[in-house]
Amino acid sequence: MLPQSPFQRRLAPLVLALLATTIGLPAIADEWSGHAMEHFEKRIRPLLVEKCIECHGPEKQKGGLRLDIREGWETGGDNGPALVPGDLDRSRIIQAVRYDDPDFQMPPKTKLSKDAIADLEEWVALGAPDPRSGELARKRPSGMSVEEGRSFWSFRPIANPDPPVVDNTDETLTEIDRFIQAKQHERGLTQNPPAAPADLARRAYFTLIGLPPTPEQVDAFAADRRPDAFERLVDELLQSPHFGERWGRHWLDVARFAESSGGGRTLLFKDAWRYRDYVIEQFNADTPFDQFVREQIAGDLLDTDSPSQRSQQLVATAFLALGPTNYEQQDKQLLRYDVIDEQIDTLGKAFLGMTLSCARCHDHKFDPVPTADYYALAGIFKSTRTLFNYTDNVARWVDTPLPLEGDAAETVAAAEAQRNQLKPRLDRLEAERRVRTQDIVSPPKPGLPKLDRHFPGLVLDDMKAEAYGEWKFSQFSQNYLNEGYLHDGNERKGYKSLTFETQIPLSGQYEVRIAYSELANRSTRTPVTVGHAGGELKILVDQQKPPSQYGRFHSLGQFRFEAGSTPFVQVTNENTDGYVVVDGIQWLLVEEDPSSAPSNPDERLKQLSAAIKKQEKALAPVNKILKARPLAMTVKEDPKPSDSAIRIRGVESRKGDIVPRGFLQVATFDGVPEIPDHASGRVELADWIVHPDNPLTTRVLANRIWTWLFGSGIVSSVDNLGTTGDAPSHPELLDYLAQRIQKNNWSLKTLIREIMLTRAWQASAAPNPEAQAIDADNRLLASFPKRRLDAEQLRDAILAASGALDTTYLGPNIVGAGEINANSTAAQNVEYNYIFEDTRRSVYTPAFRVNRHELFELFDFANANFTFGRRATSTVALQALYLLNNPFVIEQSEIAAKALLAHDLDTNGQIEHAFKTTLGRSPTPNERQLVGQFLEDGQNESALTGWSSVFQSLFGSVDFRYLN
């Protein structure tokens, strides 16, 4: 076992602070000398007025700082006092004006003159005399304290209200209707009568399965006289596999589902379809929603009964991974926190109806969410791996191979076993070939970097070392291996080390060398410890002298190593007198043990090459099998879970206090799960979200379901139930529904059914003049809200009406995605050049973030960049142009016309059929007359042309685009 670090000592706390406190601060200005005051009045006051006060004065306090009164800089801004009298180095104002830190420069536009900076320095050195005094307005308190928050409606425990008694003796009135009608009666309104059967059927079909009823289905429902006909229809539709395709899509809006990353360099999420299919299947299976939540947040950590369940749960975690990540962001720590922020934002809106990301930079201005709560959650996601690493130029997500079953599992298991056998053998052979290859590499030309593999023996670059303490990366000398080298910054002597480890393939005598670049500022006694078969030896290296080998490597001596051993070389900066510089380590075989040495080295090399080739050949098919394993976008646990520090003003590099991982204080209750040290806390987070006492989750969910059924919610701001969200129109009903979710064991289908069987849902959409006068937004639901078909419904309805709809259930749908490397230009081109041609249901249409299906883009499809619980309904001329001129609409109209003409019908029958296929009803006499006249006027057109026009007009008509 080699020592991890030789440094067990801890730095004794320095008490420099004492120095500062002895200087003290005068209470009144009179104590200052004439010279000091004069300096302030003549030099400093005008300077502050001219350069600082605009942003740090009575009007504005950027960064929370005021410089127009003494109390301003004493108290300071977000980062504490701006100035420490007498102490230049600890005065942030001096750091800022010196412009040394590129991220912290004031004034921001132009550096002050040298004289002005010197004046400020002198002022601080003089003890910062400042006669200006005034009252500092107390910091604006955040919108709401956690305590106050607990009494806000959405954070209060969910009540169990009794349905009001409505002045109505009708026993068939549902409990939900009693809540609705009670409010209507309060305002003197009357519920609309039930909708016409044809309207109701069309409404139910589109709402539950997103498709129009066929003419036969319309007729069948109209003919069904049984009292429970509608109940039967609802049950039938809830069992349809199309239900999951419609309702899963609702959830995909919330999960900001997409199949590419968008943002800067867009990457193809070629496996995201698995998550989409997972969601569709869960909705069809009516998986309890609490389980659905657990799987999406912590599926990788849950127990499983089978490989297929394991697969499903891994796939579910894509919920956390498929955000609009800008993988190209160069500052990878910032990227890491941006990803965390996106996860918290999505999770907050999706499950809790909270806009948490406001608390990244400051306590939430309106909601009872202090910054500490945000970073408590951030710790959970910081302890979760979403990015593969934090070093790639363009980062990657975490791909996880899915467990398999049956033959496929056996094949992969066999391949894995084979690889585990073959790969180490191949590595050993290659290591042996390396140490046996003694070809001298020509000395590198000055200024040109060379790669480690250009040198003989075993060469490890500095990036492969385990670092202790802070080592700085540099390219200052032009002489280095690979990307650059590391140095100790000539500071914190005795607190830094770099340790290299290698595996020795052959026993024998080796020369060990260190690579560095010499310079006059280097250490003359850099300690390098070489671990070898006989023990350890510490050698001091003079790094001011040029290395002897190719101007890059310096020999540390010759040592014996045993085959199979893993010796180390450790460089420290203990007792060094200049920069310690490390570029790499080389182990070079000098003399092999006679016992194992081949008689003919050249022959052995040839054998080695042949053996390597053979191993590679054997590995190729194995690797192919392993590469073809199904992958899922997932997250995984970070090996070292840890809490997060608060970031002041959200700036990644400005760290504040560390906050233990946890949840929102405002939604704390008895039995909040505790996060173990060794875990990220995602399991506990999911448990907290679906805990019966969490006041938010079921309210948010009940409100979403209501919205998906009625088009608007009991709370209209579906993703925001906080103080800036809208107030609930029926708070008791919302609590009642939230309770129902728990009583129904989190079954969504049960609640959907309950709501659809109300009179409110089945009411006519005809205008209710009384209600329009006093309830213009129709929040009291006196009539059913007339709704526009959304993008998917519109496209699917056109395809269904023309007969061209491909109803293939589940499965990938991006042509050309296959086994493409997602992180490649080719993958981007799949998206950029994509032509949307398939006629599958819209839920399967490739959901790229950049290249969107034109119809989706125009007709208010969800913005896949954030949680989108309620779609907008915009009306723009470009939509009309699409319906008038787009080839898709024209072609589908023609297909529909051809299908119609294939029926043996007279003109009247044709008109009847065309209306039922598209609008789900018979034409009105006027419509019949209009179409008849149109066809008659077009005698010189073919029947196909005429009927194509009729279908296209029907597709564009208000009754096609809206649900009554």
């Binding site: 921001p108 962001q329 032009q478 230009t825 290249n851 009306t875 470009l878």
Partner: protein, 473 residues
């Protein structure tokens, strides 16, 4: 192209007048959602100096030290290894590094009455130094193209925010209800793609309309779905009348339904756009002299020249924000010369004459007075060679843009970078400041142009930005 259908069919107009939904409202509603017309022209916060913007986007990052920011010290030190703070290495490691100084490949000369230094890279633009204000002290956020391009357009490297053109349409509405208020000509799909002209959380009416896309020939581009080659004009007209007659029938029993009125209104507007918009984009009737001014029908200027001329026509037609992209769909867009600085010349040849032609044309038509022209990229380039090679890397810490017309001081050279041209040091103008200034010129206070979303008032400039009054005439 088939002739456009007759838009003034009297019979339909008569029919509409008697519609239950009420054509009277519809005419005023234009392309409305809900009850008010979101694109109604609005009264600005402060007296506007510009009515519209033409943004000539140089994707990839033009090298300031090879174009407008003359640095003699680069010649003197050419080839020397010096210490620089490279932004990419800084972002990844927090370290400085040693880099090889690289002189400009193009000679600089003083030009115009104001004596501004411009290199040989842009001989045509160089003739106009008295028309525009050169800002040499730009700095921005984002080291890579994606983040920096998004920052330029939306004020955020990573968060989903509305683009500047959407904010401007939200603030000012449109001058021509028959045209979109925000058009991006030939935008790229890469580096943020549609987010660069998207509305994010603003209502969809404010989104930019892409006309063509990067890589398409300018001669082939147009507003989507404006034309219809599959149906005869006669069929289209008859079909349109049938559609609106059916709509009228279907709205019969729905008095005062403003949403449905808006739907019917959108069809009417679409019908008018079919007639009017193609003409705005059609440059065939421009004189030979005008076309020559923009370098149309000659290479390599034809493509960008056509786009610039279309931009002028759009400006005349009252489009509020017109972006003319010089870009492509790659991850190293257009001006991104990491290892081949001489390639800058190719791009300069493609845009120089068209841009200069646009300035001349706007000026001679009196349009430059109230049209703000903005030329520039998402960042600049390093004064040293990248990885000791023959190109320059990205530099967000100091670069040059210019503004012309629209109330900006012509001929002013504003701000400065350090002696090597890497960092803006004097009169620094952050991208947020540029945004604030452009809004100001259009009559909007960037701190008051807000939109409430998820309980927060959002701004283009977030909590930053200040108007650069020094450059305003």
């Amino acid at each position: 192209m088939p002739p456009n259908p007759d838009v003034s069919a009297i019979s339909r107009r008569d029919a509409l007048r008697h519609m239950a939904c009420g054509f009277g409202y519809m005419a005023a509603a234009g392309i409305a959602s809900g009850t008010a017309n979101p694109l109604q022209s609005r009264v600005p916060h402060v007296a506007p100096k510009a009515k519209r913007v033409i943004f000539l986007f140089m994707a990839g990052g033009v090298s300031q030290v090879d174009s407008f920011d003359y640095k003699p010290l680069l010649h003197k030190n050419d080839g020397r290894m010096l210490d620089f703070t490279d932004q990419r290495i800084l972002a990844k490691t927090g370290m400085g590094s040693n880099q090889r100084v690289m002189k400009s490949l193009w000679d600089f000369k003083q030009r115009g009455q104001n004596g501004a230094w411009v290199s040989e890279l842009f001989p045509h633009m160089a003739k106009h130094t008295d028309d525009y204000c050169i800002i040499r002290s730009m700095h921005t956020e984002g080291v890579a193209h994606g983040p920096a391009t998004l920052f330029l357009h939306t004020g955020s490297t990573n968060f989903i925010r509305p683009s500047m053109g959407a904010w401007i349409n939200y603030g000012l509405g449109t001058e021509n209800q028959d045209m979109p208020g925000f058009i991006s000509l030939s935008p790229a799909l890469g580096n943020g793609g549609p987010r660069n002209y998207g509305n994010a959380f603003l209502p969809a009416a404010y989104q930019g309309t892409a006309v063509g896309r990067a890589g398409m020939k300018a001669a082939d581009i147009g507003i989507k779905n404006l034309e219809n080659t599959l149906q005869s004009p006669e069929q289209r007209r008859r079909q349109f009348d049938l559609l609106q007659a059916m709509n009228q029938e279907q709205c019969q029993n729905l008095p005062q339904n403003t949403e449905l009125e808006a739907v019917l209104g959108s069809y009417e507007l679409a019908w008018r756009m079919q007639a009017n918009a193609p003409e705005v984009l059609d440059i065939s009737n421009e004189s030979a002299a005008t076309k020559a001014l923009y370098g149309i029908d000659e290479e390599p200027t034809d493509n960008y020249g056509r786009q610039c001329l279309m931009a002028r026509r759009m400006a005349e037609a009252g489009v509020r924000f017109i972006q003319v992209n010089y870009s492509d769909n790659s991850n190293n867009p257009a001006w991104d010369q990491h290892n081949d600085m001489p390639e800058h010349k190719e791009h300069a040849l493609a845009v120089d004459k068209p841009v200069a032609g646009l300035l001349t044309d706007l000026k001679q038509r009196g349009l430059l007075e109230d049209t703000l022209v903005w030329w520039g990229g998402e960042f600049g380039r390093t004064p040293y060679a990248q990885k000791n090679g023959t190109g320059r890397d990205h530099n967000p810490t100091g670069f040059t843009v210019w503004l012309a017309g629209g109330g900006v001081k012509p001929g002013l050279v504003y701000g400065a970078t350090d002696e090597f041209g890497q960092y803006a040091i004097e009169n620094k103008v952050h991208m947020h400041d540029l945004h604030a200034t452009i809004l100001h010129l259009l009559g909007m206070d960037h701190e008051r142009l807000t939109f409430r979303h998820e309980g927060r008032d959002f701004r283009l400039t977030d909590v930053h930005g200040s108007v650069v009054h020094d450059i305003i005439a």
